[in-house]
């Protein structure tokens, strides 16, 4: 067993490289997913039939197809005619994860916006606010607090989803532990892998929890936090 830990020590630089890839894909994919989720989520509730239809088709398509097949498509099909688009594996991974989880997130965004009480919408009308002002200044800040728990779930799923990128030649953390298995044991290698994923997930979840508490505190609910700096860098 002590041999195993020695081997683990030898693998450490490679594990850290793999970890970096995993974290990059998670954070990059999540940022892209949030942008796509907000964009599609807002578009899915506009009056214009064509725009709303477009959003619905994109959401249903990326929710309804396998992430692995989406990655294969982007990686193997796009370089061929008539597309002739060559993307690096990392970019393919980011786009695939961003679109897939963005489509799920769009439903979260849409649902949260619809959950803001009707009275809030009516008050913005009574104050003659424009549609943009209403969304940016009143509705979205309230919907944000509602959507964080579900977005947290998606973020954890996205982290775990990054492991599938080994199918498009990316050497992420899972790929390294897959290698290490040969020099240690299946049990040892994969147990360490599980623990590392769990720790990252736990850290992300904790950060999202703080974000949620800050968002609800801004709405005057829940416990006020004094340690989390707000956008201006001032502790609230």
């Amino acid at each position: 067993m002590s041999d195993y830990f020695e081997t683990l020590g030898r693998y450490l630089p490679r594990i850290l490289d793999g970890l970096l890839i995993t974290v990059e894909l998670t954070i990059g994919g999540a940022l892209l997913a949030v942008v796509i989720a907000i964009g599609l989520g807002l578009l899915a509730r506009v009056e214009n039939f064509l725009l709303r239809g477009f959003a619905r088709v994109v959401i249903e398509f990326f929710r309804g197809t396998s992430l692995v097949v989406q990655l294969f498509f982007l990686f193997f099909v796009l370089p061929l005619p008539p597309f002739n688009v060559n993307l690096s594996p990392i970019v393919v991974g980011l786009i695939g994860l961003g679109l897939n989880y963005g489509a799920y997130g769009a439903e979260v965004v849409r649902g949260s916006i619809n959950s803001v009480p009707k009275g809030q919408w009516e008050a913005t009308t009574a104050l003659s606010m424009s549609n943009v002002q209403r969304m940016v200044r009143v509705i979205f800040p309230q919907a944000w607090a509602l959507m964080i728990p579900s977005l947290n779930n998606l973020l954890i799923q996205l982290l775990k989803g990054t492991a599938v990128v080994y199918t498009i030649t990316i050497v992420d953390m899972t790929a390294i532990f897959n290698d290490m298995r040969r020099d240690t044991s299946v049990f040892f290698s994969y147990t360490i892998a599980l623990l590392v994923y769990f720790v990252i997930a736990y850290v992300l979840s904790t950060l999202m929890g703080l974000l949620e508490r800050r968002a609800t505190a801004k709405l005057g609910r829940g416990i006020k936090l004094h340690v989390i700096p707000d956008a201006k860098g001032v502790a609230t």
């Binding site: 809030q120 009516e122 009574a126 003659s128 606010m129 424009s130 009143v138 800040p141 309230q142 005057g220």
Partner: protein, 277 residues
């Protein structure tokens, strides 16, 4: 003669029961207004006129269409048929070549600025402080400078008896305090018409008086036109100069508060008043 301020050329042809002076333009005029929800007709060809500076209270059993009238004036909902005029100008629809045409959003937006509403459930924005609630629309809708808006907001908070609550969060205030902030927020827009929709119905009985006192004060010191839906008959008597009794989307009886409350003529008005008092 159609003019820019009178596109239908129908001013003075009011169908309500109010005597208008020559050339007087009423604050609000409903002309054959119909409102249906599915097959349920809430307002059925309603006509009435509100003069500028009038304080009109709408009374009647629930479901009689009172709140619907306020919601139509605030453009929270669209009428099914008929026309509404604010200061002689069409609010949401216009008649052209015998057809009912909906007006553009941009036009409605401008009309809406002249009207303010206070809601039963206050509807303050929980993501903003009291001060931010009050200055939000004056700054971002009317384009006032932030400094001016803040000065005015402090005056209004003084007026509603909450000078020390500017930085408070709405959720930390009592219902009565929240409603007073909502009144200040409405007044900050300097509306020509103020709509009060059962503003004390969600309040504890002991704070109803303070909210009504503030509204009495506003009624006494400004010339804002008020359209009031309330179950507080004493308030209606104190503040309004006209009372309309509604039942099933129609005006059953109307008159001065003294006429309606002390000497109601219609059986339905008598039954309603004895039920609520």
């Amino acid at each position: 003669m159609p003019t820019e301020s009178d596109p239908l050329g129908e001013l003075g042809l009011h169908t309500g029961a109010v005597e208008l002076a020559d050339g007087e333009i009423p604050a609000i005029r409903f002309e054959n207004v119909v409102k249906q929800y599915g097959s349920n007709t809430v307002l059925d060809g309603l006509n009435f006129t509100v003069r500028k500076g009038d304080r009109v209270t709408l009374i009647g059993p629930s479901g009689s269409g009172k709140t619907t009238i306020l919601r139509l004036v605030m453009t929270l909902e669209d009428s099914t048929d008929g026309y509404i005029f604010i200061d002689g100008q069409p609010l949401t629809h216009i008649e052209k070549d015998g057809r009912r045409i909906v007006l553009k959003d941009k036009y409605r937006f401008e009309m809406r600025k002249r009207i303010g509403m206070v809601f039963q459930q206050f509807n303050l924005f929980p993501n903003m402080t009291v001060l931010e609630n009050i200055i939000e629309a004056p700054v971002h809708v009317l384009g006032h400078s932030k400094a001016d808006a803040i000065t005015r907001a402090h005056e209004l908070l003084e007026q509603v008896g909450l000078p020390d609550k500017a930085k408070a969060h709405p959720t930390s205030l009592s219902g009565g305090q929240q409603q007073r902030v909502a009144i200040a927020r409405c007044l900050a827009m300097d509306p020509e018409i103020m709509l009060l929709d059962e503003v004390t119905s969600a309040l504890d009985p002991e704070v109803v008086g303070e909210v009504l006192g503030i509204l009495r004060n506003i009624a006494a010191t400004t010339d804002v036109t008020m359209l009031i839906v309330t179950h507080e008959m004493q308030f209606a008597r104190d503040v309004s100069n006209r009372v309309l009794m509604f039942d099933a989307g129609r005006i059953v009886e109307e008159g001065s508060p003294a006429e309606i409350f002390d000497n109601p003529q219609e059986e339905r008005t008598q039954a309603f008043l004895s039920a609520v008092s």
